[in-house]
Amino acid sequence: MRVPTGISELDAMLHGGLMRGDVTLVVGSAGTGKTTLALQYLVNGAMKFNENGLYVTFEQLPAQIYRDAASFGWDIRKLEAEGKLRVVCTSPPVLAQFVEPRNPIDPIIEEVNAKRIVIDSISHLESFIPASELRSELYRLVSHLKMKELTSVFTSESHEVFGDRLVVTGVGLSFLVDCIILLRIVEVQSSLKKALTILKIRGSDHDKSLREFEITSQGIKVAAPFTQYEGVLTGAPRLSLSEQRFVEMFSKASEKKR
């Protein structure tokens, strides 16, 4: 059973959407569009798929989220008033209570009848939990969300903006989650572009191409794969010569010689 994000090209890459009840990690450096993608997933859920959602933020105040979402035409306040979406702004210690039998998040999930949840970002929770307990605590959180049958999206900050070294997370969270979507800024022909790829989906095939994407006035729009380039994930791709293009270039060079 698939849970569409509502971003049609991404859903096609996911072969229909996220798997119901799965936890997806959206990883990217600052400014890559993690929050936009996560919000779009919830807004589309509430507006197009009759699936209510909960957005948990640690740093950004709801007022800022309302304002940023409005620039994409998403009226979060209206969705909140209609009981379809709820924005909760809290601190990591409060979210850590989520796995306790009595916690402040469960009543909100029930009140909104949430089927989708976003935690933006899991990196803040990671900074709160002692390193020795981090993996087991994250495992507990992932299990709790699955028991509640929520289809979850965690955002995670990657510190590498460019370069060939890529660390998805430092604590093995990539093994705990079911799906990983990587967002990256790349330099192509002296311009900065955004690239998206799906690194894994547990138990399902997926499109493995690297796609360019843009943040438009309607939200994220995924475009064609970077077919003419290789090394895109390093942030500094180079043109790759397809066999056909190589033959064309070779022919032109031969003609010039004659």
Binding site: L61, P62, A63, E80, R86, V87, V88, C89, T90, S91, P93, V94, Q97, E100, R102, N103, P104
Partner: protein, 98 residues
């Protein structure tokens, strides 16, 4: 909440700069669900100063304070908040007319 006059109610609500900041924070961000430490960070104040100002707002009913495990969590009491705002508006109106 016991009946209070305009002066007493407004004193409880906005009797200090920090109280006014807290009310503004919660009204603009009704989804805040946080500890006193977390709220203090969001208004750029020290927790002890915010702690002192939150109690009267809880007493009036604008904010709700609930214990979860080891944490005291503060949030906007949305239903009560509207009731108090309406009441304040009525008191201001009455004060101007009287």
């Amino acid at each position: 909440m016991k009946e209070t006059g305009l002066h007493e109610l407004s004193e409880k609500l906005i009797g200090s700069e920090i109280k006014a900041e807290l009310l503004r924070l919660f009204h603009m961000n009704p989804g805040i669900l946080d500890t006193v430490e977390g709220i203090a960070r969001r208004v750029g104040r020290m927790p002890k100063d915010v702690e002192a100002e939150i109690s009267p707002l809880v007493e009036v009913g604008v904010l709700r304070r609930e214990r979860f495990g080891k944490l005291d969590i503060v949030s906007l009491n949305t239903g009560k908040d509207k009731e108090i705002r309406d009441r304040l508006a009525a008191l201001v109106k009455g004060d101007m007319e009287g």
